[in-house]
Every structure is written in C-alpha cells, then in structure tokens.
Symmetry: C2
Subunit: 397 residues, 2 copies
C-alpha cells in the first residue's frame, strides 16, 4: 500500500474538519472536457436540479429587449440530464482557439463549475475559464520556454501619500545578467487593478513566449494600480475581503496621471532600466488607454511608445484638472518630439469606436503619425490580449 | 453625470460580450455579511431552488457512519427563503476569530457563494473564505504596515533536470538595503504546491505583521514545490489547466529530499543570504514536515532551525531510498551538532498524533533536545497558520 494511499485512508477515517474534505476535491465529473476535435463537453453532477444551463463567450450572443433598448447578452444553452444525475452538453462545433469564460445556471442561479478550479475574477465576478490552443492563443499558454519572474511589490507614492501595490514582470535572465532593460507600463481598465493584466490579460505568458520566440525584446512590464484612491487590489489591502465595485473615486479626474511620475521614479531607481524615452512604453485598455493618452502628452519626454487599446479619449465635461487642459497644444508638443510608435487599436463594435474615430481624425488633421489596428468585436479581454501580442513585438527596436 | 456612470450605461447599451457582463458582478446580495457582534449572515439569491444549505468550518462537525466506520464531517445548516427569493442564515453565536471556509449546497449540489469573490483552492476544491479578526488572527490580515515582496520565479534543478517554479518572500527593505538575510524554507503538504502556504497559510501577511511588530527577525521565506515530479502548481506549467489531484508520483520516496540542495544553492546564489547553518530554517506541514525531518537529518550542517508541523514521520515500508536509511545514526549526527531549535507541533486529534508520540519518545530516549507544542483539533490549516505564527518568532535569534 502506497504511503499516499495510507495517508488518504487515514484522512477519511479520522479527520474532523472541513479543510480536509477539500482534498477530495469538487466533483468526480470531468468538466470542461476538451475533446480531440476541439468540441467541448460540460458536465455537472446535480441530480436534484430541474434545469441546468451553461452560458459563456463560446456561445453566440443573443439579442434581448432590455431597459435601455435592444442589446446583446451572452448565449445560453441547456444541459441534458443523464440517468446518473449528471447533466451534460457538448458544443455542436469545434471551438476556435481562445481563452473562454463560462458559468453554469442551476435552476436559474448562476454559479461556478465545481469540477474546474480555474476561475478568473473580473471586478466582482468570478467565471470559470478554459483554453483552446492554436495560433495566437498558444501565446497565452505556459509553454516550455524560459520564464520571467512576477513580483508583487509595494512602492511609496509621495504625490498620493500612499504605499501602493504594484505587479512587476522581469524577463528571464534579469536577475543574473547586468543589462539595462526597457520598460512597458501596462495599465488596466475601470474596475481593474494591478492583477487584471496578469489574470485576464495573460501578460506573463505572452511576454515569456514572445521573448522566447525572439519576437519581442526582453523587457520589464510594470502593472500599477490605476485607481488613485486604492492602495491595492480588493483583498490585498487593509480594507480586507470586501466586495469589489466597478465605481471607484479618483479614476479619470487627473490624479492618476499627476501621480504617475512616482511610478516611473520608483521603477527606475529599483530596477536596471533604460532611463530614456527610447526605453519607455506606456499602454492601457479602456480607462488605461485614457491614462496612457493623457500621461504621454502630459510628460512628452517620457515615452517613445504609446498604445491605446479600446481607449476612452475624452474626460468628462464636469472634470476640471490641469492634466486635461490645453490638449491640442500638448499633443502638438508630444508629436513634435517624434514618438517612435503611437498605436491605436479598437474593435468594430466597441462603444468607444466613434470617440476613437473622432480622435484619429484630430491626429490626421494635425499631421501626427500613428498606427491604427482594427479588430472584430468590442470592448472585451479577447481583444486586449490580441492587442498586447501585436503591440509588444513593435517595442524598443 | 460622472464619466464612470456614462461608461457603465454605455456598456449596458452596446456591449455584446460575456466579459462585459462580468463587470456587473455576481449578485447584489451581501454575503457573507459579518455583523457588528461577529455573527455572520449568509445569503443566496436563488428563488427557484427548493433547498439551500451552508456548510463550513464555522459550524460544529457532525458524526456520520461511513464506509470506513464513524467519522466526522463538516456541519451543515439550512438557509431560510425570504419573500424576495433570497435565502438567508445568521449564525446563532458570534464566531471566534479565524479565517473560515464555507460552501453553499443548492438542491444537493455543492457550490460557491456568487456574492463572495474570495476563494482559496485546496488541491481540487475551491471554497469561499471570510475572516473574523481579533487576537492572533489579526496576523492573517493585510494591515497598514510596510510590506515585503512576493515573487514567483523559476529555478533550474540539476538533480531533477527540471526548471521549477518557486515562491519567494523577501521582507520590506530587502531591495534597498545591503544586508544579508536568513532564510526559512517552508514546505507544503500532500496535494499542495508552491502556492499553498501563500493562499491557505497567509504566509505573506503573517511575515509582514510579525516583522513589523518586531516579533520576528526580517527573513526571506522560500516556498518550493515539494512534488518532485511537478514543475509548477496546477495551471502554471505546460500541462495546462488540468484538474489537480491529491495523488502525485515522487512525493515521499526520497527524490524531493535528494534534490533539495539545488533549492538552497539557487537561493544562496541569487539572494543576499546568511550562508550558514545559523541563517537557515526548514519547516513544513504534514508531508512537508516529513520532508523537513528527512532533509534536516540528511544534511546535518544545513539547518539550525527545524519545524515539524503535524508531520508525517515514517516513510512507507515499500519505499527504498538512501535518504531514509540509517535514521538513528543520522539523527545522532544531526543532534550532535546542536541545532538551535527542533520544534514539533501537532493537534490532539491529528491522525498522525500517535506516530509523532512514538517519534518524540525516540528523541527523548536519545537525549535529543526538542520543543513540543500541542493544540486542539487535527490536521487542518487553522493549526498550520497557528504553528507558523509560533515558529517564526523563534528563528534566527
């Protein structure tokens, strides 16, 4: 009898705790099961339920009439109950490569898949994930390549008078060589934090893989918390295990941009960095794109590379901050210094598409050079992962 | 109208994706709600369910007749459905300070609380958690103190011929001062990995707090993966998002112990460490206690501090490894070198209690000096967090 088996049997016999039950783990059902032909089977052991559905971004969206008019919602499909009480559904078609999210709906109640331990938090929601590999999506996987280091640190922001948590990726080799590295500052969207690009954006995997393939220069990636009122991601500060919210103070009113030099100063005095415009890039999604736009024009000597991913462009009219004053003059100064790359990406159905179109026209009229990249779909992480894989190989070359 | 509100409304109107739905987050119900008197209210919005229960380690255990005889299981209690379709239960008494785990059971199906984004994985199970502060448990919270850095790195193990993931905590100040730091090697139990002590053990919080209070010396804490066949925690290796299992090869058959000098060598050549016996401690829980016991006697000049937390003691009879040969002679050598602390801790109802009792007798008979610490309850994380808070202040003094 193997030691492990003995231990396991002993645990069953003598254990009086909840924690130990945990080792038996979820359900014995296999879900999601990715089949050889890339169809996917979902299973849930819930013999007493009267209806089980699965909803997720692997299904076509459905249009519904809502409070504000017609809009699209994620598709939903029924699982069928087997004689063993296990509900099951297999996709009718092979799924394209992607990192997908899904939830089960059990008797009208939306919940996680107890057979799948992989969940990602997006603001206040946890959804299960699975990955279908192939093509670009292989960049989102952990592959057999050399790996960089991901550190969660805290830095002092004199401007905000706060100690704040920050996520920093250093490429493989950083600790043992003596080189100076360029830095990409990568900013999250509204409701996000210093964990968002790691969990939802697969940044560590994308960087490890692009660098290993020789497609990207080895670089440091700094992921600060862009909510200027927040010390750290939910659960990581003295506020405790509170419920995350989408609405936070001090997000798009100038404070974050005004305090951003604290981040750069911290990074450049704590890491072996290329301390020059040619060694700095800034990019962000949605609110983080807004921050990237306004930071890069506020500090025109800081960044040679700027990426606006599905970016919000204009501050709210009610917001008064010197950061947003004199936009056109600041843009003129920024572009007179010939940034090496000003990259704008957005999806065709993004609600910020029109705002971006107007902004591109303004850049055109000024004769300002930028690169434009357009994708299908809208304001979703699928696009932001794509944009990261496109943007990173263009940096520091 | 605030920019945030505008963005939010626009998202509702125009968004066609699953990901965006996520920003609306779980349910509007508040659960778990920790009341002023430390009772806790659980709520679940599931109007179509016919029965909802909550189970967790905040409830007394129940004894049931199982396949192997009577044994204890976590208690379960019913929620009551309100007219609004929200089920609710409030504990009859104030809960003692602790980091608690719980799950809901909806029509017989065990699931997570959709209003609580805080979950911890233990092998293949995810359970929600909440924390009642006070006393020792305040050490498990993120407090307003200076914080160390937590890095996930990869190291090369020549003995295993593998690149392996490792979690390393460096105390506040490490990056900016020039001091040498002592190192605690902290090992997980069966089914665990390099994430276990971080998530379930609250190691970062405990170290930050004990160091800030002056109760512990600033130290580096190294949390390697103790499964010698495994590169990294589930989901963090090229094996992808597979279902974790309790049964792994190469866990208690000598390979981990034989390869352990690779970890020490990596740490001491990559960090500013006190490279002496007086600057090294090793401790672990269950299987990790077994590893600590056998590593510390195999390399008697490595560690001045040894912690066996609910440790397994004896290898399986079928296992043949030079690591486990000549135990008594090796112990004699180890203790002849006067380790500064040999600390054994276990809970009264632990299934390994008897094995530990026999081992303590053997140490007594040899005249070997050790310190013994006994707690209530058994083989549970609650005890291992307690042991860590007791052990760490005794190190490197």
């Amino acid at each position: 009898m193997k030691k492990q088996t003995i231990l396991a049997v002993l645990l069953v016999l003598s254990v009086a705790s909840f924690a130990q039950q945990a080792i038996w783990g979820g359900q014995n059902t296999s879900s999601p099961q990715i089949n050889a032909n890339n169809t996917v089977t979902f299973r849930l052991d819930a013999p007493k339920a009267s209806a089980v559905q699965v909803t997720g971004d692997f299904l076509p969206t459905q249009q519904v009439d809502g409070q504000y008019g017609k809009h699209d919602v994620p598709g939903t499909v029924d699982l069928v109950k087997g004689s063993d009480g296990v509900w099951e559904y297999t996709t009718s078609e092979a799924l394209k490569p992607e990192l997908y999210s899904y939830s089960f709906i059990v008797d009208g109640f939306k919940t996680t898949d107890p057979s799948n331990v992989y969940l990602i938090r997006d603001v206040a929601s946890l959804t299960n994930v699975f990955l279908i590999g192939g093509g670009r999506v292989d960049l989102y996987k952990v592959n057999n390549v050399v790996h960089g280091t991901l550190a969660r640190r805290w830095y002092q922001s004199p401007t905000l008078n706060m100690t704040r948590r920050i996520s920093i990726y250093t490429p493989a080799g950083y600790e043992t060589d003596k080189k100076q590295y360029p830095v990409l500052y990568l900013l999250h969207g509204m409701g996000g934090d210093e964990e968002a690009w790691i969990a939802l954006g697969r940044t560590v995997q994308i960087l490890d893989n692009l660098i290993a393939q020789g497609e990207a220069k080895p670089m440091i990636v700094v992921m600060p918390n862009g909510n200027a009122a927040q010390e750290a991601a939910p659960g990581e500060s003295a506020l405790g295990l509170y419920k995350p919210t989408f609405e936070l103070p001090k997000t798009m009113e100038g404070t974050m941009e005004a305090s951003f030099p604290d981040v750069v100063k911290f990074v450049e005095s704590n890491y072996r960095t290329v301390n020059a415009k040619s060694g700095r890039a800034i990019a962000g999604l949605s609110m983080g794109g807004f921050h990237s736009l306004h930071i890069s024009k506020q500090y025109p000597d800081f960044f040679d590379y700027v990426g606006l991913f599905s970016a919000a462009i204009n501050p709210d009219k009610a917001v008064k901050s010197p950061i947003y004053d004199d936009r056109d003059a600041k843009l003129k100064t920024q572009f007179s210094k010939n940034p090496k790359l000003y990259w704008i990406a957005i999806g065709k159905s993004d609600f910020l598409y029109k705002e971006n179109e107007v902004y591109r026209k303004l850049l055109d009229n000024g004769g300002y050079k930028y690169t434009y990249y357009e994708t299908e779909e809208g304001h979703i992480w699928k696009n932001w992962r794509i944009y990261l894989t496109e943007f990173v190989p263009m940096l520091f070359k």
